[in-house]
């Protein structure tokens, strides 16, 4: 097992997945959806869509075969909390999927596990088999007539964009992982054109926890629009990298203090599709209404070169763009070229202005969330660190002053 540091006693550890599932088995579909909606739980994968509303759409959609899909693609740079959840609390995730299945009337479940996590597969398969043996998957779950559901594991094959839910479904159907236009939405036209619920690993785990503890228990933590605790994957120049459970609405400053990163000069919140938050903004809140995140926080100490950061993330985007749409495919290579020019000190202020405009166009014109957020890190570095990135000449900035 990979020994990641896990901050404190996680809430998930106190949960009993069987109690959650029993609670759902005793409820009607509408009651489950009502409970999840009342908790105001929002998706933990990044976009933050209200989970109850998603389940409601899917439950109302017509279809012979509905699906519940768990998004375990976890490709966002800096994110590893789903790996920890899948390793330690697989039954809570599977219980959450079964609860969703009962809520929307699905009988088939799919867990899309990224290829990089193949080593987790065996343990997950064993956990699924145990659930079948215990009557927690299959026909008549917990003895309830008509409660029928089973889960299958499908592997990814090394493509970040497959974490985007429509690309994930394309991939499950045996196609290239290219995002679809929306609408139609996955909730009514998903897997095999059937109504499907796609949620993040952590979302399912919280949904299960809410079934056990009730929506009020969940709501007491967080802000009005971002309720509950969230798992954060924190890495970079800090004392204690690892997984932290923190309330949504925590300020960046407080978060940094919790992980031993007080002297940070900046942090990327939300991974490659997130943005850079500089010291001046450390009082901002991490939550859906302020600085949203799927949980990735990468911290940069005083010595880090922000151009190096921009370069690495743009290389990532150029590599991982699915290539369908031009703004994303070509735009990001232009942004990366600009970073290289800045590194050599050959980028004029006028050209930089044009490239920033291009970055904004990429945001507006890209087809999916990958393209739409691909320039954010670059743009926020240009906005916040102009003094650091302009006027460079090769060798003029002593490496020692840049790297910690």
């Amino acid at each position: 097992m990979i020994k990641s540091f896990v901050d404190k006693k996680l809430t998930f550890r106190d949960m009993d997945p069987d109690v959650s599932l029993k609670a759902a088995a005793d409820m009607s579909s509408a009651e489950i959806i009502e409970t999840v909606s009342a908790s105001s739980l929002r998706g933990r994968g990044g976009a933050g869509f209200p989970t109850g509303a998603k389940w409601k759409f899917c439950s109302r959609a017509e279809g012979d075969q509905k699906y519940v899909v768990c998004n375990a693609d976890e490709g966002e740079p800096g994110t590893f909390k789903d790996r920890v959840i899948l390793t330690r609390f697989p039954h809570l995730v599977f219980a959450g999927m079964s609860i969703a299945a009962r809520a929307v009337g699905a009988t088939r479940g799919l867990l899309y596990l990224r290829g990089e996590y193949t080593y987790l597969r065996e343990g997950l398969m064993a956990a699924l088999q145990k659930r079948r043996d215990d009557g927690l998957l299959g026909d008549e779950i917990m003895g309830v007539d008509g409660f029928e559901f089973d889960i299958e594991i499908r592997m990814g094959s090394g493509a970040y964009v497959c974490g985007e839910e429509t690309a994930l479904i394309e991939s499950l159907e045996g196609h290239r992982g290219e995002p679809r236009n929306r609408p139609p939405f996955t909730a009514d036209t998903g897997m095999n054109a059937m109504p499907s619920v796609v949620n993040n690993v952590e979302t399912f785990a919280w949904a299960a926890a809410i079934m056990e503890k009730g929506p009020e228990w969940f709501r007491v933590v967080g802000t009005d629009q971002s309720t509950g605790f969230k798992l954060f994957s924190v890495s970079g120049d800090i004392d204690r990298p690892g997984v932290y459970e923190l309330p949504l609405g925590i300020t960046v400053q407080e978060l940094l203090a919790a992980v031993g990163g007080e002297n940070a000069k900046a942090a990327v919140i939300g991974g490659a599709s997130g943005r850079v938050v500089s010291q001046a903004e450390f009082n901002r809140k991490v939550c859906y209404e302020d600085v949203p995140t799927g949980g990735a926080v990468i911290v940069f100490g005083p010595g880090r070169d922000m151009l190096d950061v921009a370069e690495n993330f743009l290389e990532f985007m150029c590599e991982e763009s699915c290539g369908q749409c031009t703004p994303c495919r070509l735009g990001n290579t232009k942004l990366l070229e600009c970073v290289r020019m800045l590194q050599e000190g050959t980028c004029s202020a006028a050209y930089l202005r044009e490239i920033v405009e291009l970055g904004e166009s990429i945001h507006l014109a890209s087809k999916c969330g990958l393209g739409q957020s691909s320039g954010n890190i670059f743009l926020s570095i240009v906005e916040n660190f102009r003094e650091e990135i302009m006027g460079r000449a090769l060798g003029a900035v002593e490496p020692a002053t840049l790297r910690s």
Binding site: I2, G115, R154, M155, S157
Partner: protein, 173 residues
């Protein structure tokens, strides 16, 4: 005794895979993943056969293979080493690990050793950001790798490789 040609063997093992996963389009990825695992790449012939068996055009199969970074047209080594090059591992010193791997294996990234044992590649974030630099050897994860440890990782693979070679002689492959 019936002598099977390499092509007969591929066709047979693909038929078995199609039987196991089902004759539907959504079985394509699991089938291709297994071919990759067994043959270290997906040949043109294999793509053709899978297309025939699933009743789709071969170019559809080609399109899928070309999309995913873990599926390859060209033969890869028995051990594919994938070094994470994304930000957190970058900050934790992935460049030195990468350099040592190149030196110890005598190949550059993207290349395979002439004996077909090792392929060296970069990967994007593999979800071990708190424990970088991280790398994958096939399905296995190595975390907090130091340049000095690279040597041990390669030796570990060579031992496994030796064991496999003996095994396959025993079963007469």
């Amino acid at each position: 005794m019936v002598l099977l040609t390499e092509r007969d063997r591929i066709r047979q093992s693909l038929s078995e895979l199609v039987e196991r996963y089902g004759n539907t389009r959504s079985s394509l990825l699991p089938i291709l993943q297994d071919i990759q695992r067994q043959h270290y790449h997906i040949s043109e012939y294999a793509m053709q056969v899978v297309a025939d068996l699933l009743g789709i055009h071969p170019v559809e199969v080609f399109a899928v293979v070309s999309f995913y970074s873990f599926l390859d047209f060209k033969p890869r080594g028995r051990f594919v080493i994938r070094v994470c090059r994304t930000m957190c591992c970058h900050m934790q010193g992935k460049d030195r690990v990468a350099r040592q791997l190149e030196t110890d294996l005598g190949i550059k990234f993207g290349e395979t050793t002439p004996d077909g044992r090792f392929t060296l590649e970069y990967a994007n974030c593999i979800g071990m950001c708190d424990l970088g630099p991280a790398l994958l050897v096939n399905d296995r994860v190595y975390t907090e790798v130091t340049p000095n440890e690279v040597h041990h990782i390669i030796e570990e693979c060579r031992k496994v490789f030796g064991a496999h070679a003996v095994q396959s002689q025993e079963v007469g492959l």
